[in-house]
């Protein structure tokens, strides 16, 4: 039925319309969060190699000082979010359940918390390489949630050219309003960031993609647009998962990214809008990331809002500050569609935390029965990659993982969860696909090993 109306040119095919649930926080300005008495910084908080610690226990550090350096190319630096003392270097829990080496930083209660400056990078005179280095040194990773080191993404491979820089202000996850507030309040940082990014990628123009439910942000950016920069704002129809790179490129450029390839195949690089603002704010001062904007919301939160929270702030401290319902049952980091459930309140806020969602017992319905697949096709109509989740689900049940990958393009699934969202039989489709993908990857790695042995 939906495809009748999907002929709209400014959007990708399929997708879903979950309730947006953004009204509670979209009107609330960003507020500074207090410093926790102890900040706990895991070194593994981005995709790639964990950062390498360069301070020792007992050392006093100033806010903004380098605590850990990038360990290899796919890695970034980490800076002190607060002035204080390194009281312990030990394993700390992370959201995945694995432990990671981390730093316990005791904040000085009476410090002015002034931020240390480093080598400023001038967007007009710096070379693309210098900008990329600056981005890595500032510890910048994708703030939309993926936490992939931004400088790696910006490096244009030999023989390819970047035509368009796409700034992702879509924020299609329900509940989250961080990017929305950043666009309304940090326009100058965003424009400065774009200046750096245009230089680094060699792109001729930048397009800021914003969904129609944030028209005010689009108007605000258009109004304050500096003269002489090739930036356009494009308002897109509201649809999940438009914030996914592939979908956003298709919505804006009308091109598809070939299976298994990167956005550069379509001549595009996509950077999240909050990441862009962070680049624009940090690079002129040579600073590193110390804090980020996080939406704290959900039915179980008392003081909902958009907060600027120091990286490494323990989740327990955050929830105590905003106050939560007695009946809290589940806490998610990120949005409700792709966010991860928290098993342990001792984990910390990391660079990739875009939202904290608290659901109470009555918001989480666990009583639903799983029915057999009735082949209603709702998942087929929802999948933005145009897969057949129904068939994939049946194959997963029979553990036919190889067939899923070879005949039904399992590996193209990017786990947006639209299929599970719409399934009337409540079959955990995307959950099946996640494990199936892991198994297929492992089998392939094993095969390679055998060939080499």
């Amino acid at each position: 039925m939906m495809s009748l109306f999907n002929l709209h040119k400014d959007s990708f095919k399929h997708g879903i319309h979950p309730p947006e649930s953004k009204d509670d926080t979209s009107g609330l300005p960003i507020r500074q969060f207090p410093f926790a008495p102890v900040i706990i910084l895991p070194m593994a908080q981005h995709i790639g190699t964990p950062s390498e610690i360069v301070v020792r226990e007992g050392q006093e550090v100033q806010r903004g000082q380098l605590l850990a350096k990038a360990n290899g190319y796919v890695s970034v630096s980490m800076h002190a979010p607060v002035s204080g003392k390194v009281c312990k270097i030990a394993n700390v829990p992370t959201i995945s359940g694995k432990m990671s080496l981390g730093i316990y930083l005791e904040a000085f209660p009476f410090s002015t918390q002034e931020v240390l400056e480093g080598n400023p990078i001038d967007p007009d005179t710096a070379t693309p390489e210098e900008i990329l280095q600056g981005i890595q040194d500032a510890g910048i990773v994708g703030l939309g949630g993926a936490a992939f080191p931004t400088h790696v993404k910006l490096k244009i491979p030999e023989g390819k050219t970047c035509e368009t820089l796409i700034i992702n202000g879509v924020e299609c996850e329900p509940y989250l309003t961080t990017d929305h507030r950043v666009m309304l309040e940090q326009e100058n940082d965003i424009f400065t960031g774009i200046k750096y990014l245009l230089k680094a990628t060699g792109a001729k123009k930048a397009i800021i993609g914003i969904e129609a439910n944030k028209q005010d942000a689009a108007d605000h950016l258009s109004k304050h647009m500096p003269k002489g920069l090739p930036i356009a704002v494009k308002v897109l129809p509201v649809k999940y998962p438009q914030g996914a790179e592939k979908m956003l490129i298709t919505s804006i450029l009308g091109k598809e990214i070939p299976s298994g390839k990167l956005p550069i195949e379509a001549g595009a690089v996509v950077v999240n809008v909050a990441t862009t603002a962070e680049i624009g704010r940090l690079l002129p001062h040579g600073r590193g990331i110390q804090e980020r904007v996080i939406t704290i919301t959900g039915p179980g939160v008392k003081k909902k809002g958009n907060y600027l929270i120091p990286v490494g702030t323990p989740l327990r401290y955050v929830l105590e500050q905003v106050g939560v319902d007695q009946e809290i049952s589940e806490v998610y980091m990120g949005g409700p569609m792709m966010g991860m459930a928290v098993s342990n309140l001792d984990i910390s806020i990391v660079k990739g935390t875009s939202g904290i969602l608290v659901f109470t017992k009555k918001d989480v319905d666990r009583s639903t029965t799983i029915y057999p697949c009735i082949k209603c096709g709702a998942c087929v109509d929802a999948c933005p990659i145009l897969l057949n989740p129904s068939k994939l689900g049946i194959l997963a049940k029979f553990e036919a993982y190889d067939e899923m990958a070879s005949d039904y393009n399992l590996m193209d699934c990017f786990e947006c969860g639209s299929c599970t969202y719409v399934c009337p039989s409540h079959i955990p489709l995307v959950q099946y696909f996640r494990s199936a993908k892991r198994i297929v990857r492992k089998r392939e790695a094993d095969k390679k090993e055998k060939v080499h042995a």
């Binding site: 792709m338 009735i374 897969l387």
Partner: protein, 339 residues
Amino acid sequence: MLRKTLHISTSPHINSGKSTEQIMKNVVWALLPVVFFSIYSFGLNALLVIATATFASVLTEHVLCKLSKKKTTVGDYSAVITGLLLGLTLPPSFPLWMAFIGGIIGIALGKYIFGGLGYNVFNPALVARAVLQAAFPVAITTWHPAFLTDRFSTVASSVFTWPFMEPKFDVISGATPLSAFKFDGVTTSTVELALGQISGSAGETSAVIIILGGLYLIARNMMNWRIPAAVLLSAFVLSGALFLINSEIYPSPWFMLFSGGLMLGAVFMATDMVSSPITPLGLWVYGGIIGILTIVIRVWGGLSEGVMYSILLANAISPHIDSVIKNRVYGTKRKMKAA
């Protein structure tokens, strides 16, 4: 200090709130007006036949679940749909014991033997009807006239035939519009057909009410509009072409659309999600096959009606349609691969 035991679950953490049970319930709601109109035009006979078929279906589902020591699945309403549909495809004065057997066969052989809901290859109601047609060829083609004045006070004697006894039909209407056309060359006006002032199976009479039920389900996104569209369109195009070639022999396409079980079949039976393909193009092919086969059987076959066999045949090839016609996956070229 905040101390809480948290539940963990994997994303997505929200869902659309739709359920299979809700879809099935809505199909039942959409069928009820058809059932009521059938009772209105055929009286107590239709009520008894439909009620018996539905009761037998639900009872069979329940008993089979208990026998295989599973939780009963009658709560998902799919057995109710099978029963109602079967009842609607039977002549209103059909002996109840035969209808009861039909209900048992539909669930047991049409659905449960394949593994229950979601696994049936054929539409269970049509499996039952096909068996009844083979077993009781006379009873299933003996039609009862609509709008008899005493329809709410008397019941045709055939209805209460003793099990395994030959039924005696007291009031026999001449023919359905289709058999009248096929064997006597008499056509019925489209308006009469659309409004249901005709004889026929209990539920194949008022096209207008059937279409309204279908529109309701389409509007609620609980039925794929492509199937009825493809069935009706292909039937219309083929019969229209024949009509243009020779309007002396072939009836008008409107007559074809509104007569017999085509409307009920296109809207409520071909659309059984389980036994139809899943991709949009696959659905068009599937619907097209049903529409064309129906007209072919009606025009050139030995039977006056062909909807049931067309749908059953299309059900049989529907898994093959799915393995040949796949969606073009994002970022790839169209993929056609026979599995």
